[in-house]
Amino acid sequence: MAAPKVAVVGAGLIGLSTALCISEAFPSCRLSVLSEQFSPNTTGDVAAGMLIPHTYPGTPIHVQKQWFKETFTYLFAISNSAEASEAGIHLVSGWQVFKTPPKDEVPFWSDIVLGFRPMSAAELQKFPQHRSGQAFTTLKCDCPPYLLWLEKRLRANGVQVHTRKVADLWELHREYDVVVNCTGIGAHQLGGDPELLPVRGQVLKVHAPWVKHFIRDGDGSTYVYPGIDSVTLGGTREKGSWSLSPDPGTTKDIFDRCRSLEPSLQRAQDVRVKVGLRPSRSSVRLQREVLSRGGAKLLVVHSYGHGAGGFSVHRGTAKEATRLVGECIAALQGSSSRAKL
């Protein structure tokens, strides 16, 4: 059988990292990435890229922990290498603070991040409105650098990258054997998944280079995440909202909430407002599907619905999607050899 032709649809965080994984696992396949949007216009570009997991209610915890561990380990190695600054990966320490005691005193990911421990009374004095907290060190993936770095690695591996709007996965059935659906919130337009909903997030990116620590309110709604060239202040979680327009009232509200966590932000400059739609689902849709019409078939692997947790699990789900692509390729080779008989 000729080398399988695989298309990854979507060039955001999930599309690019999944394509990279596939190109590493199956170097002989002919791999293309097709996407309407590229960095800096993907959902991931809006996010801070902090490795602090979101919990998916529909996925077993041990699976989420495995995905987080794989992602953390992968990025840890990059952060420790000469490529760290180009890839936008860096360590950052900080605090998660709680006004009311958290549901899980020790979250499932506490032994994967570095140095996780409860905050001391002296440390909590900096947060007079909060009663307890956790201190730890984790990783941050700055975008665009990380997405640009992934794309560079893909091209070096001979992967073709094309700007193309795919309105229906079926339109690819003549050109490709396997299609990997990494369209994120775009999967809504491909149709058929009532479980996928946008959760709108507005953030501010500001210049405040003296802020060296992350601060996250344990309720998840307010955070200060220092990156390479800007600090991301957030945020909102508006279920079902499709609006990509920044809201000025929300901007002021985010700024006020973040300033109460970190008063020095009063002096921040260069405020840029961004909006992204988290592709939310109770669990990531990671499964195979066979599309068939009139005797023709298209093998599909879905990998979308990462919601607020994309960065934290992306390498783990990329490996799982790659495994599913492997099953598709084996199935194709199986039916191909049957056809020869």
């Binding site: 936008g88 900096k126 280079p209 060296k212 008063p263 020095s264």
Partner: protein
Amino acid sequence: MRVAVIGAGVIGLSTALCVHERFHPLVPCLQLEVYADRFTPHTTSDGAAGLWQPYLSDHGELRETLWNKETFDHLLGYLGSPDAKEMGLFPISGYNLFTRPVPDPSWKNIVLGFRNLTPKELELFPGYSYGWFNTALMLECRSYLPWLTNRLAQRGVKFFHKKVGSFQEMFAQGVDVVINCTGVRAGELQPDPALQPARGQVLKVRAPWVKHFIITHDMDSGIYNSPYVIPGSELTVLGGIFQQGNWNEENSAQDHKTIWEKCCKLLPALQKAKIVEEWSGLRPARPRVRLERETLRHGHSQAEVIHNYGHGGFGITIHWGCAMAAASFAAASRCLVFGLLPVLSLPLARWLNFLRRGLAQPA
């Protein structure tokens, strides 16, 4: 009542501020002056990265540990305030790395969140098998010294850009108390064989992805002779040079190479960082800080000098505690007491309390 501070680095300016804050309300005729041949950004303090961290051991100098703590707590109090950015003050966390286990430092309970490094964290630093993590403070003097200067100017303190030749020169002009904050060149005013330069050199690079300080220690080659990386608000400082007895303030190509190679080995990502500045300075090294009052003859009368120098590589770390101690010595100074005579109408208890605070400090 004239008090002259000689020196306008972090020690001189903070001591001047402390003296003025403490005495001006009680001695309205107090005239405070600052004399220096170098002002910010040309002082030793300006070149330092600005990390609050004492040496590993206080060598039994308990009062230095106390002054370090007083400084940390004083700065911590400013953290949430509107002044913090203008002061160049912000919290920072990071790593101290060793090749073998060492005792905990005297300052472990002064900083926040002090703990040992986990095995996973040590994987980041091949060649180092032991270490600490803690949250401390940065105080960048390129911002802090102008901030102190503004506060002093607002209070009417006068600045004189000149090199003072001798203490006698000050007394002859009518100065009653001299506060000697001349740092590494104190020996020019009064010989002090215990005071030596400890030359340092640093590279300042653009590496905004570095969010932690990393200080390595080689217990055999001594403090700061091992690479360190300290991220500031704009640039990251790379260093690791401590040369006792070297007075050369010129940058050395050999030291540049040493710093660059060792820091890039410690943090491979630094290879991509652009070098923006290079600077050499002389730490005013002394076995212990000289903080004491000395009475000198001046003609038929006596004049007072309060010495406050020899802070080595921990001047920023210890500055406020020393400033307060120096101001207390000034309080006990006879001249200042005479300056208080017009204030005798104050309630006796308050007056005695004021004196008691000053006399309580050991000479």
